[in-house]
Symmetry: C2
């Protein structure tokens, strides 16, 4: 299965997160105390706390001094802003991904919103776009730019209903570690994107520009997203 050379704090973090997501602990439940977790997993408190720090940071639990740690709420994707429906949290099952433009190699756009390094510029990019549907309705239109450096055979891959991050991790040992993003409200991008998202041109959409760090030094992933927030909001914790 997965690599077993993970740090202990990360292993515990993943385990606890899985338990929360899988419903072993429900919203409002008390987690085992830090000392209990120490004994259960043979760790010391700083290690246990580091795992729990991550859960707090991602909004899964909340700590109360003198009382304990309580499960806060349910999952989010990677990153700080993920989608959340107006009525219910979105399980993985009702999220689908369609490839709109298949991966191909091209030059970077002239008006690319991020500053590129010389080597990024010289090598061009792998470009593709995908549509994310929640419960069958299009919500995100996601345009991705990968610097065309050392990603053999990427452009022949099928990305439908697959996680880009999983493919990068498993096939290219590339881990996405975080990133930054700029968010705007804009008034209808071009007509094509309106059609794809199923919005009319007077309808406002959310516009995100993201630059993501990876485990490979100086290798960044860029993405531009358009999001129909008519029925869903973006959700984030801070």
């Amino acid at each position: 299965m997965a690599a077993r050379n993970l740090p202990q704090y990360r292993r515990l973090y993943l385990l606890l997160r899985k338990h929360i997501v899988d419903g072993v602990y429900h919203e409002g439940d008390m987690l085992p105390s830090e000392n209990e977790l120490c004994i259960l997993h043979g760790l010391t408190r700083p290690t246990v706390r580091k795992a729990m720090d991550m859960l707090v940071h991602e909004g899964f639990i909340r700590r109360h001094q003198g009382k304990g740690s309580i499960v806060h709420k349910l999952p989010k994707g990677i990153g700080i802003l993920s989608i959340s429906g107006t009525t219910k949290a979105i399980g993985k099952d009702n999220l689908a991904t369609q490839t709109i433009i298949r991966p191909h190699i091209m030059e970077w756009p002239i008006d690319f919103p991020f500053l590129l390094s010389e080597s990024e510029n010289d090598s061009g990019c792998i470009f593709f776009s995908r549509l994310r549907l929640v419960n069958g309705s299009p919500i995100f239109y996601d345009i991705t730019y990968l610097p065309n450096i050392n990603l053999p055979r990427f452009s022949v891959r099928n990305l439908d209903n697959k996680s880009l991050f999983d493919i990068l991790r498993t096939s290219y040992s590339l881990e996405v570690k975080g990133g930054e993003q700029f968010i705007k409200a804009i008034n209808s991008p071009d007509k094509e994107i309106c059609d794809i998202l199923g919005v009319n041109q007077s309808q406002p959409v959310l516009h995100l520009q993201r630059k993501m760090d990876t485990s490979r030094l100086n290798y960044y992933i860029y993405s531009i997203l358009y999001c129909n927030t008519d029925e869903h909001s973006l959700y984030g914790i801070f």
Copy 2:
């Protein structure tokens, strides 16, 4: 000046952040190594690392194993997606705050977007709104709802150009610890808000609904923001 009973890691964090923001360290500069910081401030590595962890989380620095920690850059957008809110990312001097509706006590709105507890509901709320100007132009319209529980004489306070969080911390021992938010792109709220923000009614604005945790158990602060993202983006890291 500020309280002196801060945890060491937080004091170091604030100091380093100030140095970065003030330009003592510039983008790309190497920070002192963790061991140097230990000696300089008389701390041990876990404490120093905790301070640096916070800087990493907020995107101020980046660590590279075997090399050192490097100042990443200052956010160019408005860092409202992170906790210290609007005052942090932008240089202090070009941000102003105007009170539009002075604090007063009222019932909660019927269509309030968050679920309220019984005691919140019963006690009503303190309501006020403020406009944030960046370089003189209105960017945020911020409507705040505080549960009217144990905040004596709040409604007579003057909030112009003051940080709400500072007032709550210093006068009421209420620390804002984090929170959650929902983000949408919407098409012109009512005309009044358009006028305040200086946008016309066909212009899209960003709409944020926030619920913030505090150090007081079960006490939450609610806020609704409208943001003109025509010239500024919201900025966040993840």
